[in-house]
């Protein structure tokens, strides 16, 4: 049945568990929570919905899960429009608050989706054990949620969401309540489980580092719209809007106007003329240079090659173990950030020191001044 439907569909879908949002909108009165969302997720893909709170990512998740009805648009799973109520969608869900049933043991929690499906007891037992083993809590089945740590509770919740082999698993800020170290550990754990099971995961977070670490692709949300969808590298290295440039990673941004300067496309900003990477258009634009792309030399030294040069003064230096983070102020008064590996040649500038900041032309990224209108 499902195979037939997929054959009829025009989508190129290989693995099961594909998801398509087609022009999905959600309005609450005059408030637009989600505007014209288009997103295609392949079966077995890990896609993160990244954005600040109130940007519509959780609303989107709720629409996929069926807890919120879209005002217009379509949700397709495996090529077929979904309109069923939540309990018939076959979608697993993991919540920030874990949402484990407090009156049941960990094992009973994991067994729950199998129990309500009327699967026989022996099969249930086998799969519960398997799921608990998978999340590394095979010995905690008899404990109640309150007796488990936050990280353990979330693993149980994950096992519970996977044990019935749903088509898609939705995770709503699942690590938001955990401390940094545990969060990083569980990020890799969730990623490992996702790769082992080959299940489609849609992951909501406002933590851009988490998104970069875990995702096959990231959809960046801003004010109810998707600003950009791409691999972590695409989103970080080639943001298509100022919002994405600012939200994902740290950024040095120069705002100005594109003009020809010495026969090269340049950005005129303040007193500076910064040469742009090839392929620049015209009009107002911004130039993005990531902090790790900035080089810092002592004043007086002259960098060679096709590089942009900015005179600056070191304002502050923060030692981060493997690197130093320089806060700089250019001659124009613009704040810049540079990250240099500890021990390398350019390392070792002190606060108050005048420096030369430079980067190769190709390391800059041109960002349109206005966000590109979504198609």
């Amino acid at each position: 049945m499902r195979v037939a439907a997929r054959a009829r569909s025009s989508l190129q879908v290989s693995a099961p568990g594909s998801l398509v949002l087609r022009d999905v909108c959600k309005r609450y009165g005059s408030l637009v929570a989600a505007a014209h969302l288009d997103l295609t997720v392949k079966g077995g893909e890990f896609v993160t919905l990244l954005g600040p709170s109130g940007s519509g990512k959780t609303t989107t998740l709720q629409i996929i899960a069926g807890f919120v009805d879209a005002t217009s648009g379509e949700v397709l799973i495996d090529g077929r429009p979904v309109t069923a109520p939540p309990h018939k969608r076959d979608i697993g869900m993991v919540f920030q608050t874990y949402a484990l049933f407090p009156h049941m043991t960990a094992a009973r929690n994991v067994e729950y989706p199998l129990m309500v499906r009327g699967i026989d007891k022996r099969e249930r037992r086998r799969r519960v054990v398997e799921a608990l083993e998978m999340v590394g809590l095979g010995d905690r089945g008899t404990q109640r949620p309150k007796q488990l740590s936050g990280g353990q509770q979330q693993r149980i919740a994950l096992a519970r969401a996977l044990v019935f082999r749903p088509r898609i698993v939705l995770l709503d800020e699942p690590l938001g309540a955990l401390d940094k170290k545990l969060r990083e550990h569980l990020q890799l754990e969730i990623k490992r489980i996702q790769q082992e099971t080959g299940i489609t995961m849609i992951y909501v977070t406002h933590d851009q580092e988490e998104a970069l670490v875990m995702s096959d692709r990231i959809a960046v949300f801003n004010r109810g719209s998707i600003e950009q969808v791409g691999t972590p590298e695409e989103v970080y290295e080639s943001p298509r809007s100022l919002f994405v440039a600012n939200f994902v990673g740290e950024s040095n941004l120069f705002h100005g106007r594109i003009a020809e300067h010495h026969a090269r496309p340049s950005l005129l900003t303040g007193d500076l003329s910064l040469t742009l990477p090839a392929g620049a258009g015209r009009g107002r634009a911004s130039l993005l240079v990531r902090p790790e792309r900035l080089h810092v030399l002592a004043a007086g030294e002259v960098p060679e090659g096709d590089v942009n040069v900015v005179q600056a003064v070191v304002e502050d230096v923060v030692y981060l173990g493997n690197e130093r983070r320089y806060s700089l102020v250019s001659a124009d008064g613009q704040k810049l950030i540079a990250r240099r590996h500890v021990g390398e040649q350019e390392d070792g500038r002190a606060p108050g020191e005048p420096v030369v900041v430079w980067w190769p032309f190709e390391d800059g990224v041109l960002v349109p001044a206005e966000p590109e209108p979504s198609e």
Binding site: P86, M93, T97, L100, P102, H103, Y112, T142, F164
Partner: protein, 268 residues
Amino acid sequence: MSARAQKGLGAFCCVVVVFLVAPTLVLIPMSFSSGRTLAFPPPGFSLQWYENLFGDPVWRLAGQTSVQVAVLTAILATALGTPAAFGLVRGRFRGRAFVNAIVLAPMIVPLIVVAIGMYAVFASWGLLGSIAGLVIGHTALALPFVVINIAASLQTMDRELEAASLSLGASPLQTFRYVTMPAILPGVLAGALFAFITSWDEVVVAIFLTNPLVNTLPALMWQQVNTEIDPTVAAAANVLTLLTTVLFVAWVVSRRRASIRSKAGPWN
């Protein structure tokens, strides 16, 4: 606050406690009186009035009727109050505040007014002097307690649990049975207990709705006090108090156990 002031406050609390429980406690020695009239202090010790209470068919029948009416009231009030609480907490309809006020009205409206109203209507329906009439009357009085208790549980319940249950494939009915009901069960039981006690010691409505053949314990006590002052009334009063106290203590203990159980210890 000075130590003296603290001691003063403590003493004041003791006075309030004595004021509250003394009328109840005074009946205990009176019920064991060897005399023939209700008097304090009693002239000597005897169990005769308890013998009389449990031996006299009139008292015994009243006790049975009271238990029967209280149990049925607890069941009916819980059965009606649970969906009502759901509607009031979860429902989004016009006039919800109004319905809420009506449900809680029996707590505020003077009992005598309710009693006379019921008397008039039940007389024409032939419900006077019947178990059914008493149960219906007491259910109306008990409903606010049931609704308040269950509504409080519903309001504090984590609704994400229900969303989780649905996402895991449980139907709304299964979700209610396996997730919602266990979560609000303490509220439901508290409501049922309050309903039982409401009926168990209710006298005003009972006086109007009972007759010599269908009498509740409090109503019979009232009649007895009006006709012959006999320490059996004191014995009956103590039985009344004892059952209420036992139920309440059992409730508190079970709540404490439940909360300890959910915090520690191996469990399956």
